[in-house]
């Protein structure tokens, strides 16, 4: 697998505020890499730095294993912050400017416009576009010149539910075409639905980096159980070797188990102790809880 982007110890301060503090991560080819964090955590700063819009104070980054930035950037499609275009130009003319900058022809513009559902409105001026259409044009711009990498910054910001669903489908389609995607978002749900890897940012530094799966399953899972005699259940279950802790919550007993203990083992153990369960369910920690927990603990 080849490395698309390698960021090492990048720092950037705006006055006293550290917008990026020793940021390091690596994006491999084909990743859908999420950069997740609350507003003001430094997501956009990082994207600005890796697209040459902002100079880092220190640290370095490299694209495509040391391709010079000015050359690399032509192989990257990006919209950072809000989609920015010339309001007095039509959607199509705005894309033609992008195509000229990227030094590629105009022939794919119509296909791309159809792909994002803007073909019928391509001759309308950008300033007449709705928020959703502006975002679509932004995504269309990132696809011009058949880039290897697409960078999207809060692509569903300000959209209605239908618009959000549409944009997500477009993103998934882009991902299927084999491109690497870097997606900044403060919406966990979005990252969980779309991304393969994630870095979580908090006030300028990374507090978690890894695959989305490892994020959801990194900690032990919780099993809910219940039976007619809750006290006995609690006593027996605490004695079980695979159990880390158990506590009562309403009518249920919540059991935290070690990593590789499955509900079947637990159930057969309890039956051997003469307890028949009336309720057994896995409670997988949602990514949202995980995220909030990470934000709380890693000060």
């Amino acid at each position: 697998m080849s490395t698309i982007l390698n960021i090492q110890n990048v720092c950037k301060s705006y006055g006293r505020i550290k917008a990026a503090d020793k940021i390091s991560f690596r994006v491999e080819k084909g990743n859908i890499y999420g950069i997740l964090g609350p507003n003001g955590s430094g997501k956009t700063t990082i994207l600005n730095i890796i697209t040459a819009a902002v100079h880092a104070d220190s640290g370095k980054y490299s694209w495509f294993e040391n391709v010079p930035v000015e050359k690399a950037i032509k192989k990257i499609g990006s919209i950072i912050e809000s989609p920015s275009f010339y309001p007095y130009l039509s959607g199509e003319n705005n894309l033609k400017i992008i195509a000229d900058i990227k030094e590629c022809g105009y022939q794919e513009i119509n296909t791309i416009l159809k792909q994002v559902g803007l073909f019928e409105r391509k001759d309308d001026l950008f300033r007449k576009y709705s928020m959703g259409m502006k975002q679509r044009l932004g995504i269309a711009a990132t696809l011009i010149g058949n880039p290897e990498v697409v960078i999207l910054d809060e692509p569903t910001n300000g959209l209605d539910p239908q618009g959000i669903a549409d944009i997500r489908n477009i993103i998934l389609k882009i991902a299927k075409s084999g491109r690497t995607i870097i997606l900044a978002s403060h919406l966990l749900d979005e990252v969980q639905k779309v991304c393969s890897h994630v870095s979580i940012l908090k006030s300028g530094h990374i507090i978690f980096s890894g695959s989305v799966d490892s994020m959801t399953s990194s900690e032990s899972s919780v099993i809910e159980i219940a039976s007619s005699d809750q006290d006995k259940l609690l006593r027996e279950v605490t004695a079980y070797a695979e159990v880390v802790s158990a506590e009562k919550e309403n009518n249920l007993v919540l059991v935290k188990t070690k990593q590789n203990c499955n509900p079947e083992d637990l159930n057969s153990y309890l039956i051997s102790k003469g307890i028949v369960l009336s309720h057994l369910a896995m409670r997988k920690k949602s990514i949202e809880n995980q995220f909030l927990e990470l934000l709380k603990t890693k000060k």
Binding site: A52, A53, V54, G77, I97, D100
Partner: protein, 261 residues
């Protein structure tokens, strides 16, 4: 180069402000030239109209006269430069251009191309106006002197390149249209005159706006017997003007390269 030109032209030709201001620039300029003879002819000195029937439109006087009028109109293209540069900031398209793959140098060069194009267009219009008025008003004996004073056309070109590149520099520093226009005007008509007020003439002469104005000074003095008047543009002045043009662009490059977007 062609690529930068293509990008810049697309930004311009669909812009209504560009066409309105350009039309205004050309129409107002030609109107003032048309009215020039009768305006000067109507000047009253002690009850007599001294300057009636002067060879204002005849070769070779026409070149100096129309380029002098042209120097007053350089504000309109300067405003266009300010509007187009500050638009890039207010639409945030400068950042989009650069993150898409236009280098910072290329961005500045595309604006320099605009300045050169517009100055060239203006030069063509002034030259054409000069020929039209010259040919239709000159006497047969003037025709031998048609080339005299054509150096003022070069002066007009340098004036524009110079002033527009100053407008470019102030625009990229300030980034807001209104403030840039106020500052450009204030510098040209208030700040520099105050700065140079107490300075010896030799130094004051080479301040940017003063130098731009000195390339073409008032031509009508030649119609008053006994006053000395400008017949040509000193070579050093033209060289200094070119140096200013290069310096303003160089400073613009530095500002754009250093600054975050």
């Amino acid at each position: 180069m062609i690529r930068l030109l293509k990008i810049e032209l697309r930004k311009i030709i669909y812009n209504r402000t560009f066409w309105i201001l350009t039309a205004l620039y050309i129409v107002l300029y030609i109107l003032v030239i048309l009215g020039l003879q009768s305006f000067i002819g109507n000047i009253n000195v002690n009850g007599t109209k001294l300057f009636k029937n002067l060879p204002v439109y005849r070769f070779p006087d026409i070149w100096h006269n129309i380029t002098y009028i042209g120097s007053f109109f350089k504000l309109i293209p300067a405003f266009l430069v300010v509007i187009f540069i500050t638009n890039e900031y207010s639409f945030n398209t400068i950042k989009q251009n650069i993150t898409t793959g236009l280098s910072r140098n290329e961005f500045v060069f595309s604006k320099v191309i605009f300045i050169i194009l517009y100055s060239t267009m203006s030069l063509l219009i002034v030259t054409l106006t000069g020929f039209i008025f010259g040919y239709s008003c000159s006497k047969p004996e003037d025709m031998s002197k048609i080339h005299e004073g054509m150096i003022f056309l070069l002066g007009h070109y340098l004036q524009l390149l110079n002033y527009l590149s100053l407008a470019l520099l102030i625009s990229v520093i300030i980034r807001k249209a209104g403030l840039t226009i106020v500052l450009l005007l204030a510098y040209s008509y208030i700040i520099e005159p105050i700065l140079t007020f107490k300075l010896p003439d030799k130094i004051a002469y080479y301040f940017p706006v003063k130098l731009i104005n000195n390339l073409i000074t008032i031509p009508f003095k030649k119609y008053i017997v006994g006053l000395s008047f400008q017949t040509t543009i000193p070579f050093t002045d033209m060289m200094v003007s070119v140096v200013y043009f290069a310096a303003f662009i160089f400073l613009t490059l530095i500002v754009i390269r250093k600054r975050d977007l």
